[in-house]
Each structure stands twice: as structure tokens, then as C-alpha cells.
């Protein structure tokens, strides 16, 4: 199964890289994941990517577990496990090493400077994620309207995000999309 081995190597390379260079959480890496799994490797189309993203958002847990859903779609259960380990192991190793050193650096000025410096980068990346997911998910008037409604509900009211997803799923059952 030489071919399968290649898929695992590509999964590991993709997610390990995302793990090490992501700042501001897993949502920042959505553009890179989309680029890799849709554009570079053509493992899935836009539509599947956006739907898997939505399923991950509808489920409880940290955002990084989205990678296991992508991995599962690409290569089944082993793919899911390979993807989540590749996404977690590098950054967790770095965090573990940092935990051993933290007391000396907790109030260090460099930490405050780096944190402040990464804020604009994170904002740019999360905005990129929003653009990438919206482009992948919206392919008609109905979906664009749902995106707009979900944005409005979340931005101007205090409803839990999950409720917006439940409402959208119910709307989908009626067959309007």
C-alpha cells in the first residue's frame, strides 16, 4: 500500500506544519488547511471542506479536532488519528518545554511584546478563514442569505452560536437550499 503511505505522509506534513506556525488558535490555520486539502492535494472539493468545517463547529471540543474530521474524510480512522496527532504533537511539545521554563519568563517583557505583536496577524488570519469558508460554502442566493443571517444573529444578538447552526440545519431540512 505504497499509495496509502503517501497520503499519511502528506497528512502529517500538512498538519504538523500548521501546528508549528499557527498563532491565535486553530481557526487561523483554516486558509492553509483549505489550500492543502482542496488546492494542493485535491482530496476534496470546496463544498465538502465547508461542510466538514460546519460539522466540526457544531460539535463540542476545541477547534483543533476539525483536523481529525478532515483526516477521516481523506484516509478513514487511521487518517483521523494521524491528522490529530500531527496537529497536536509539535505544538504540545513546544508548550511542554515552555512549561518547564515558564517561571523565569512569566512577566518577561519579550512575552508581552510578542503577544501584542501577534494580535494583528491573528486578526488578519481569522478574517482570511472567514473569507475562505464563506467562499467555499456560499454557492447561491440561499446560502449567501443564510450566511448573512447567521452573521447578523451572532454579531448583534447574544444567542449561542450553536443555535444559529441548529436553525440553519432545520432550514436545510425544508429543502430551500
Amino acid at each position: 500500500m505504497k499509495d496509502d503511505g503517501g497520503i499519511y505522509v502528506a497528512l502529517i506534513a500538512t498538519f504538523a506544519m500548521c501546528s508549528v506556525i499557527a498563532v491565535g488558535g486553530a481557526n487561523s490555520t483554516v486558509p492553509e488547511m483549505h489550500r492543502q486539502v482542496v488546492d494542493v492535494h485535491a482530496w476534496m472539493g470546496d463544498r465538502t471542506f465547508s461542510e466538514l468545517y460546519a460539522i466540526a463547529q457544531a460539535a463540542p471540543g476545541p477547534n483543533v479536532v476539525f483536523t481529525s474530521l478532515l483526516g477521516h474524510y481523506v484516509a478513514g480512522v487511521p487518517g483521523a488519528l494521524v491528522a490529530i496527532v500531527a496537529m497536536c504533537a509539535p505544538s504540545c511539545t513546544i508548550a511542554y518545554c515552555a512549561a518547564r521554563l515558564v517561571d523565569r519568563f512569566r512577566e518577561a517583557r519579550w512575552r508581552i511584546v510578542i503577544q501584542a505583536g501577534l494580535v494583528p496577524v491573528t486578526i488578519g488570519l481569522v478574517a482570511s478563514s472567514a473569507l475562505v469558508v464563506a467562499r467555499a460554502a456560499d454557492h447561491g442566493i440561499a446560502t449567501v442569505l443564510i450566511t448573512a443571517a447567521s452573521f447578523a444573529l451572532c454579531y448583534w444578538t447574544r444567542i449561542p452560536p450553536l443555535l444559529a447552526l441548529v436553525l440553519a440545519a432545520a432550514l436545510g431540512l425544508t429543502g430551500v437550499v
Binding site: 489550500r35 460539522i55 463540542p60 483521523a80 513546544i94 510578542i114 505583536g117 446560502t143 452573521f151 440545519a169
Partner: protein
């Protein structure tokens, strides 16, 4: 690890073992729809009283400068402080393990649903709504940062968006430029 008392939380703080860490972080994961951070604070600070709010913020601050998911980094660092390497492993497995099992089940159902046209509409609607949620998150972040007058940081955020979102450049290139520039700007502003 047991010898290095000063490297852990203050002496008054309880030190949960690996099993307790696993359960606590699994609880956080199970309750955390969308925002896991709020639940982490609730469980660790309020419900279990393992850290004071100040200690929590202090520990979380470092997690935000490290690469990877913030809450994942918190699990590693807090787990390590309480019970060493085993504590880190238990906290991460609790946080990630159950949701991954859920994702695998969801993935199997998704692949098996290909023949049902009605579910196409449901998934398409879900995806469109999830896009709206992410746009709301992004707009909230922009709104929070734009209160001050135009600063170099705003231009950097826009440039990052252009590079990663519009031009779709590889993240490695974007980060190789944007992160050092951001840190340099912050250093220059805080001189």
C-alpha cells in the same frame, strides 16, 4: 518535578492528579461549543477552585504566544505543573480524545449520507451558517482593535488578510514575514 515546588502554582493551590486532570479537561471539551476558553475558566477556577482568576490569566497569557491551539497549550502547561509529563498527557487526552471519537463518528455518518438528497440541503445550510459565525468572530476582532486611531498594526492585519485570504499564499511565507514585522512594530510602539 515534585522537588521543584516553586515551578507549580502557589502553595495554596490544590494539585490534581492525572486522573482528575483527564476528567476536568474532558468536561471542558464536552461543554465547549465554539468557545472552549470560557468553559476552561469556569471548570478550573470556579467549579474546582484549582487556580485563582489571576493565576488562570497568568498561565493563559503564555499559551497565547506559543504556536498551536491556546487551550491545548493550556492543557499541556497546567497538566505539567500539576503532575509532570503524565499530567500533560492526561489533560490533552481528556481535551482532545472524546471530541476526536465524536468526529470519527460524524465522519462515518457524513460519508454514508452521500445518497440522501435531503441531507445535502442540511449540510449546505450548516456550512453557510458556520461561515456567518466565522465572519462575526472576525468582525468582532476587527471592531475591538479599531477603537484606537489608525496604527501600523491595522495595516499589518490588512496585509495579512490580503496575503492569506485573498491571494491565498502559503501560511509559511505569510507567517515568516508577518510575525517578525508584528513583533518589531510592538517593540517599537512599547519602547
Amino acid at each position: 518535578m515534585t522537588k521543584k515546588e516553586q515551578s507549580g502554582p502557589s502553595a495554596a493551590s490544590p494539585r490534581p492528579g492525572a486522573a482528575e486532570l483527564f476528567v476536568a479537561f474532558a468536561t471542558i471539551a464536552a461543554c465547549g461549543f465554539g468557545g472552549v476558553l470560557a468553559w476552561a475558566r469556569h471548570v478550573i477556577v470556579k467549579k474546582r477552585g484549582w487556580l485563582s482568576p489571576e493565576e488562570f490569566n497568568e498561565q493563559f497569557a503564555l499559551c497565547q504566544v506559543l504556536p498551536g491551539g491556546n487551550i491545548l497549550n493550556f492543557a499541556v502547561m497546567y497538566g505539567c505543573r500539576c503532575a509532570g509529563a503524565l499530567g500533560s498527557l492526561a489533560a490533552v487526552l481528556g481535551l482532545v480524545g472524546p471530541p476526536v471519537i465524536l468526529m470519527i463518528i460524524a465522519g462515518i455518518l457524513y460519508r454514508g449520507s452521500g445518497d440522501l438528497p435531503i441531507l445535502h440541503g442540511v449540510f449546505a445550510s450548516l456550512a453557510a451558517a458556520a461561515a456567518g459565525l466565522l465572519i462575526a468572530t472576525a468582525v468582532q476582532m476587527v471592531a475591538a482593535s479599531i477603537k484606537s486611531r489608525l496604527r501600523p498594526g491595522h495595516i499589518l492585519a490588512a496585509a495579512t488578510f490580503l496575503a492569506a485570504g485573498v491571494l491565498r499564499l502559503p501560511l509559511v511565507w505569510v507567517m515568516a514575514v508577518a510575525a517578525p514585522v508584528g513583533v518589531a512594530l510592538a517593540w517599537w510602539e512599547q519602547r
